[in-house]
Symmetry: C2
Subunit: 241 residues, 2 copies
Amino acid sequence: MPTTALPALDPQTLQVLAFDIFGTIVDWHGSIVREMQQRYPQVDGDAFALAWRAGYAPAMARVMSGAQPWTLIDDLHRQILDAILPDFGLAHLGDAERAQLNLVWHRLAAWPDVVAGLTRLKHKYILCTLSNGNLNLLTRLSKQAALPLDCILSAETFQAYKPDPRTYGGVARVFDVAPAQVLLVATHHDDLASARACGLRTAYIERPLELGAKHPKDVQPHPANDLHARDLLVLADLLGC
Amino acid sequence: MPTTALPALDPQTLQVLAFDIFGTIVDWHGSIVREMQQRYPQVDGDAFALAWRAGYAPAMARVMSGAQPWTLIDDLHRQILDAILPDFGLAHLGDAERAQLNLVWHRLAAWPDVVAGLTRLKHKYILCTLSNGNLNLLTRLSKQAALPLDCILSAETFQAYKPDPRTYGGVARVFDVAPAQVLLVATHHDDLASARACGLRTAYIERPLELGAKHPKDVQPHPANDLHARDLLVLADLLGC
């Protein structure tokens, strides 16, 4: 089946940049490893971070299938945490310690290029999040990382998790623009493919160390994306910001 | 009936400041008058601004009563605009001109103390909007006025207009805090009273010229409010920011 080539992206046609957060903007793996080293140095932080994150997609799938009612990511993260703690010798942690640890997702560190890149992009575009994180998580995360965003949009806004089309289409509807005036910026090809299916334009950001230095990611360009950038500074270059 | 005195507000108990926007943060009357002077100098801009704003509460009441389905403020503003144009000799305006004029609500100017006041308050608190404006309006307004907010919350977020309790209670629920950890900041006593009924703390901001220099507002303190401030710089003083 022949693929239809998209016309080259004209940066002037875009109005809104919607950013995936976990992996794209913040280093969840490194942040969790560092927090575990401080709190529970006996635990393999790399394996712990990967196990916690591995529960994420299945948990959201249970919600979207209707097997579990609408649940915020903060609560899904806690359910996954409770499930994996025994595997890491931490079954004895009390409720307060679990609650504190769960909030590591509100304290994730941004990749080093992010603040400078967003600052350049903000002069030309509306910058929003489009993340499965809940509004509370995304707001506190953005505040502590000093992200210069214009608006926090979340799965919570649309009561649906990515890759549900209500999320991608919802960004265009909120800002009263055509889907092709929205660029989804993400480090995950499946997220970008789902956005394209809704008519959005897409930019891939490499983040080769998203899964940690032991698990380098394949960051080869995918021709279906409109843009491919090593980081947000290169994205700003590509968009003429 | 005796009133119950609230304990004095301890600024340390607050986590979130939620700001009303029209009148409190931006000068809708002055901005509309200036835009009308530029576009249609033959029109009485003061009367025009007041007529447009006068349609606002009844339009939201129609939505909340169920007489009209859920409608964004951008669309309610347009309906009111269409209704008042003939009264001001502007019945001849075409659709594109009406659409452009309607977007004046995205371009309202902030009061002179706002950016400096928010900047101080932001160091200590989560700053969000709680406005009946839709997300698109609030985002574009905040961006052009360079408001250093952490999150845009809107009637659209909660699918209910103030003074519906879902809006005030919704802010506390979104940020996972008690209602008393949220301070509503507004220049309208009825908005503040509705917030108090939901357990929020309240701060009144004077804005004596909200309705224009010809119609000075009574800005006397109301004892039910926790705080009373001339502007956001005084609010920052009162909160120790």
